[in-house]
């Protein structure tokens, strides 16, 4: 689906090459045009739209069926009828095992392989932008997409919950109740947590994207790795491996719903993701610098 919709490729490349011609502040303008290209694509909006559907479907289902009995379904689901704010949190919980990694996989896996398959990669490299700079810009664009994706789920979820259900002070896991403002801040913190959680996967996707000129391959491999990592994380026999999996802390955002907030998981998660970013970033640099760009 990528090749059809990327009909703006060469134009975008021209713009990028043209603007990044000057040395120095070129990186920022390169990033700007990269983001412009990303968010001009219909595919990007389709991905964000699919993510927005998750909270909408959850909210409609609960609204129409009257909600599950206590203790059934994903955590927080049974609270939605009392407080619409929980739609966003429930949607994040539902989206994080598969839907979010899938969309990240599409964007990160397409980063280099997509350009290569369109034959636009060499135009990008003709400019004195440098390969490392191009990688950095591509990664930054993928990271911005991570922010957009998680915010879409949380914000759409909160808004639809607001529209369909009564809202009010939010009961935390600890049993304490916080006001609406505090709760909204916590939801933003959850979005930040999930964004950080996806940064390691983005780096893996970028590396896979430098390996091939077939973007679908890199996209699928990235999404499959996320699923495999979660399966490994569920096998008790491989417990020694669990703390090293990039999916290990993905569901740890619940710690932001405690009182007082437990920040340990946030820090551990950030450190782990930084490790994945460094390793796979370095691999991507090594591969991309030695790669023969023929198309």
């Amino acid at each position: 689906m990528s090749s059809r919709e990327a009909n703006d490729g060469p134009v975008g490349v021209d713009a990028r090459v043209g603007r990044s011609g000057g040395a120095g502040g070129g990186t920022l303008s390169l990033l700007g045009s990269e983001l412009l290209t990303l968010f001009r694509r219909r595919r990007t909006w389709a991905l964000l739209g699919a993510l927005a559907l998750i909270p909408i479907l959850i909210a409609l289902a609960v609204r129409l069926s009257g909600g599950p009995p206590t203790g059934r379904g994903p955590a927080f689901l049974d609270q939605i009828t009392n407080n619409g704010f929980f739609v966003g949190v429930t949607a994040i919980l539902v989206a994080i095992p598969l839907f979010l990694p899938l969309t990240i996989g599409v964007v990160a896996g397409d980063a280099i392989a997509g350009e290569a398959s369109h034959g636009t990669l060499r135009y990008l490299l003709i400019a004195p932008a440098g390969r490392i700079r191009l990688l950095l810009v591509k990664y930054a664009a993928a990271a911005v997409f991570c922010v957009a994706a998680t915010l879409t789920v949380v914000v759409v979820g909160t808004l639809i919950g607001w529209a369909l259900f009564p809202i009010g002070p939010v009961t935390l896991l600890s049993g304490a109740t916080v006001g609406v403002g505090d709760a909204l801040l916590r939801f933003l913190a959850i979005a930040a947590y999930v964004t950080v959680s996806l940064l390691g996967l983005s780096a893996i996707g970028l590396f896979l994207s430098t390996l091939t000129t077939v973007p679908v391959g890199a996209m699928a491999a990235t999404a499959i790795l996320a699923v495999v990592s979660q399966i490994v994380g569920a096998l008790p026999q491989l417990e020694w491996l669990h703390p090293w999996l990039f999916t290990h802390y993905w569901l740890g955002f619940g710690d932001l719903m405690r009182d007082p907030i437990v920040w340990d998981t946030f820090g551990d998660n950030a450190l782990l993701q930084a490790g994945y970013l460094v390793v796979f970033g370095a691999l991507a640099v090594g591969r991309f610098l030695t790669k023969d760009v023929l198309s």
Partner: protein, 428 residues
């Protein structure tokens, strides 16, 4: 492009970051804990001095994170327990089941589900406690205390204060309020103190000398302990970044499975920061509890405040406080019963302890484990857990062995299977 007209060696140099990054991270992963464990040398203490030091600890307030780990060597039963938990699993993960807090009080919210479901979750709880890892936060300030067990996307809390105790379970949305009549408790304490003083005066008058000091008592207790256990001070270490003494207890008894028990005592404040039980012959502890970080500053008063949130099922439970007369009445009653127990026939009604010290074995008579027996899933689970031996089934973990004889008696202890079979055969 550029890459095409460079030589192979140039190509290799471009892979350098890709090679260096994982190595740097690996070195960091190895070195940081090494540095944290750098040699610790606290002033030497004898076991008696160490115990005295720990007893004199006067820490009023602390907050920290505790990690509890069990590796009892049970077969993995997550498949079975998942089935038994019914729809109770709250959102993914192996540790995410509906785990109640300890005593059945937290269960009262489940209402009409019946005892079968309750006992299934209880069994689930036991197994989840015996396998895997739990993290909890502890807050302590004077008479206020809070234990916050962090489950995945759920939480269990115990709040203690002068006004009573709250137990809150977020997965069950149930809160239990335990209240104590403070005036009655104070009266009981005062009365007990008076009784104590009276008894002491009487004893001193009888002995014609003052009673032994706490130090003397400690020495005596240690001497007694020494007959069964080797008590020593191990190498100083580090727990939660603090320098600690290590108190090591090693059973002298050959029949027990317990290899050693270690307690880490903070070298500065005398607070116990970690404890672990290691099975005989094992390298890793089978059960351990340790602070992963701790601070001795008073926590914010807000962490102790609890009001049950809306929509929570609240169970009020007033704990009756007996008066001293009642206590003595109970004691007399219990003594009378234990004498009556000597009569044959009534013996089967209560647990019996065979042997003493480390190799003690507890026998539950057939009626004690419920004549209803095990059926369906419970029986399947029992079959998976235990192995057939001559005269019954044996459940063996690295620390505890349980023998269920064919006639329904249950023997349990931190001992070898042979010792249990022996106890079952000889009744000793």
């Amino acid at each position: 492009m550029r890459a095409r007209d460079t030589g192979a060696s140039h190509r290799l140099t471009r892979w350098i970051p890709a090679i260096v990054a994982p190595i740097a991270i690996g070195v960091g992963v190895v070195l940081v804990p090494l540095q944290a464990n750098a040699a610790v040398d606290l002033p030497d203490l004898t076991p008696a001095e160490l115990l005295e030091f720990a007893a004199s600890s006067d820490v009023e307030s602390l907050s920290g994170t505790i990690e509890q780990r069990s590796e009892l060597g049970l077969p993995d039963l997550s498949g079975l327990t998942g089935a038994m938990g019914g729809g109770g699993g709250s959102g993914g993960g192996t540790g995410g089941g509906t785990e109640d807090f300890g005593d059945g009080d937290g269960d009262s919210g489940s209402g009409s589900d019946g005892d079968a479901a309750a006992s299934a979750t209880d069994l689930d709880d036991l197994i989840s406690l015996a396998t895997g890892t739990h993290t909890a936060k502890v807050y302590l300030d004077g008479s206020n205390a809070r234990l916050q067990v962090l489950d995945r996307l759920a939480e269990r809390n115990v709040y203690l204060s002068d006004e009573g105790a709250w137990i809150y379970d977020s997965a069950e949305k149930a809160a239990t309020h335990l209240t104590v009549d403070q005036a009655a408790l104070d009266a009981l304490e005062a009365e007990a103190q008076a009784h104590h003083d009276e008894a002491r005066e009487r004893l001193e008058a009888e002995l014609g000398a003052p009673l032994p000091t706490p130090e003397q008592l400690l020495d005596e207790a240690l001497a007694k302990l020494d007959q069964t256990t080797d008590v020593s001070v191990g190498t100083d270490g580090r727990v939660a970044g603090r320098e600690v003494y290590e108190l090591v207890l090693e059973p002298r008894d050959a029949d027990t499975l317990v290899g050693e028990i270690t307690v880490a005592i903070d070298g500065d404040t005398g607070v116990a920061l970690a404890a672990s039980v290691t099975a005989r012959g094992a390298d890793e502890p089978a059960f351990s509890v340790a602070f992963t970080d701790v601070s001795f500053e008073a926590p914010d008063a807000a962490v102790f405040a609890f009001t049950p949130p809306e929509g929570t099922e609240v169970t009020e439970h007033a704990v009756p406080i007996p008066t001293v007369e009642e206590l003595e009445q109970w004691k007399a009653q219990a003594e009378a019963e234990s004498q009556a127990e000597a009569a044959p026939g009534d013996e089967a009604a209560r647990p019996v302890v065979h042997g003493e010290g480390w190799s003690a074995v507890v026998e539950l008579p057939a009626a004690g484990v419920g004549g209803a027996g095990f059926d369906g899933e419970a029986a399947a689970m029992l079959g998976a857990l235990t192995e057939r031996v001559d005269g019954g089934r044996i459940l063996s973990t690295s620390l505890v062995t349980v023998l269920i004889t064919d006639d329904g008696r249950v023997f349990a202890g931190a001992v070898t299977a042979d010792r249990l079979l022996d106890a079952a055969a000889t009744g000793r």
